[in-house]
Every structure is written in C-alpha cells, then in structure tokens.
Assembly symmetry: C2
Amino acid sequence: MALLRAREVIMAHFRPMLARHDITEQQWRVLRVLAETGPLEATELANRASILPPSLTRIIKALEEREFISRNKVKDDGRRALLAISPTGLALIEELAPERAAIYEAIEKRYGAAEHERLLDMLDSLIQSESTEG
Amino acid sequence: MALLRAREVIMAHFRPMLARHDITEQQWRVLRVLAETGPLEATELANRASILPPSLTRIIKALEEREFISRNKVKDDGRRALLAISPTGLALIEELAPERAAIYEAIEKRYGAAEHERLLDMLDSLIQSESTEG
DNA sequence: ACCTTGTAGTTAACATGTGAATTACATCTA
DNA sequence: TAGATGTAATTCACATGTTAACTACAAGGT
C-alpha cells in the first residue's frame, strides 16, 4: 500500500527529533492538538489526533506522569474530563516547532511545494469521499 | 497527518473481509507478496511487504503454524531460508481476490478512477524523492 | 587456524493498533 | 424511583511497530 510507504518515509524524518526529546509520535500528536485547539475531552481529542480510545488512555497516563498535560473532571458529568496541555508541554511543542517547520520545508523543497499541496488536497478529498458515503 | 487518516478510511473497507477469514492485514500482505512474487527470503519479503524484521518473524511463525506458508533452509548458507506460500495459503488469497477487487472498484467509483491513479503516482513520486535523496 | 567484520534472523522491551468486554455515569421511561 | 438504554472511558487480550541487543553464520584478512 502506497499510503503506508509514503507515511513511513515522511515520518522517518521526524523520528530522530522525537527520539531526542524522548516522546513518541503519538504523544507528540496529542500535545500538538491540545496546543492548537485548547482543552478537549478525551473522545474529541482521540478523533482529532486519530488515536483510538484504548491508546489514548495509555498516552494520557504517560503524559500526565511527565506533567505535560493536566486533567480536570467536568462538573455535572462524572465520566468526562477536560484534558489541557501544561506550560511544560507547551514549552516542548514550541521548542520543536521550528525544527518541525524546517523538516516540512525540506520535504517540500525536494518534492515540490505545489505537488505537496495538491497531494494534501487529494488525500483530504479521498478521506471525505470515503468517510461521508462510507 | 493526512496520510494516516487516508490509510485508515481505506483499510476500514478491508477489515471486515479479513476478520471473516481470521487473518490480519499484515498476514494478508505477506501472503499476497508471496503469491505474486514466488518464494522469497525473509529480508526481501520484509522489504516488499513493508514490514520490519521483528514483526515478520512473528508473522511467519503464525502463518507457519496455520500452514499457510512453508520455510526451507537455503543450502550453502545456514542463515537464510526461503519462504513460500502453500497451496492452502494460495487458495485463501485466490478466494479473497474477487472481493478485494470489488472493494477497490467501489473506492474508485466514489473517488474517481483518474484521481485514484494520479494519487498513486504522486505517492510513488513522493516515496521516490524521499527514499533516494533521503 | 584465528580474529575481525559483515549479514540474516531472532529475541527483548516497550508503545501503539484493534476489537471485545467492562465499569461508571447519564438519561430516559414506565 | 427502579429498570432499560445510551455514552465516556477504561481494561483486557492479542498483533504489530520500533529500537536495541543478541545469536548464528559467512567472508576476508592476518
């Protein structure tokens, strides 16, 4: 599957950066979503980060232990909890942001910025066509 | 990551089929490669199926126990072994082939055959541009 | 022959993917 | 208000992804 291979070669560029800071790709995704979107409940966070609930439970636990995120129970509903990125977590994201941008720029330079954008559009279109009609 | 989501929505169509026959996506990929290419050594098989060696070791073990594949040591080199699909495994692949084709046709119908092909070309191009210069 | 280096596979340890079952809580309804 | 149903999150069991370490064998050099 071409999608699988494409994802591999792209992520290969980011792994060294993530390894240096001792976080996984998924933990990074969770932190980025929280940094960009603000506090979220677990279900919404799982959707936005494309992570399944069981995985998210474990990731939250790990990130909480390292104090990258905090959780506050929602009043009036004992099931839900609001997850928010902490100052420490936010600092990490911001520290990685320039490197992340540089890596994407390098990819665009090799592959072509226009091609890159067109590819993203096509992928979004594919996702839409499949997820709506199902 | 758009690549991740795209892969998810595509694979979602195949999962019910695979679950019915009690094989995983990766096991299916291994069997397909062996069916299409003929007997291979583990390293080559891992590359073609985009599976890492440790995973392949486990998958081979599982497929061997179910007698979907066979392994024969290579003469003159005690490290290598030739992996080949068995008649049982081949029968499974051939049984699934029509359904697989139908699913891809349905996707092309929704998404557009030309778009589909263009997307594959772009992905291959991306893979090339990253894996060669890396 | 011995030692070094390289290669093919495997094992280990930990994180995530995936589906099913379970818990805790909400809500609805009789 | 008790019971049925629905929802959010977790837990369980197993398969894979990922890196590092390790074993087994091969090839070369001394």
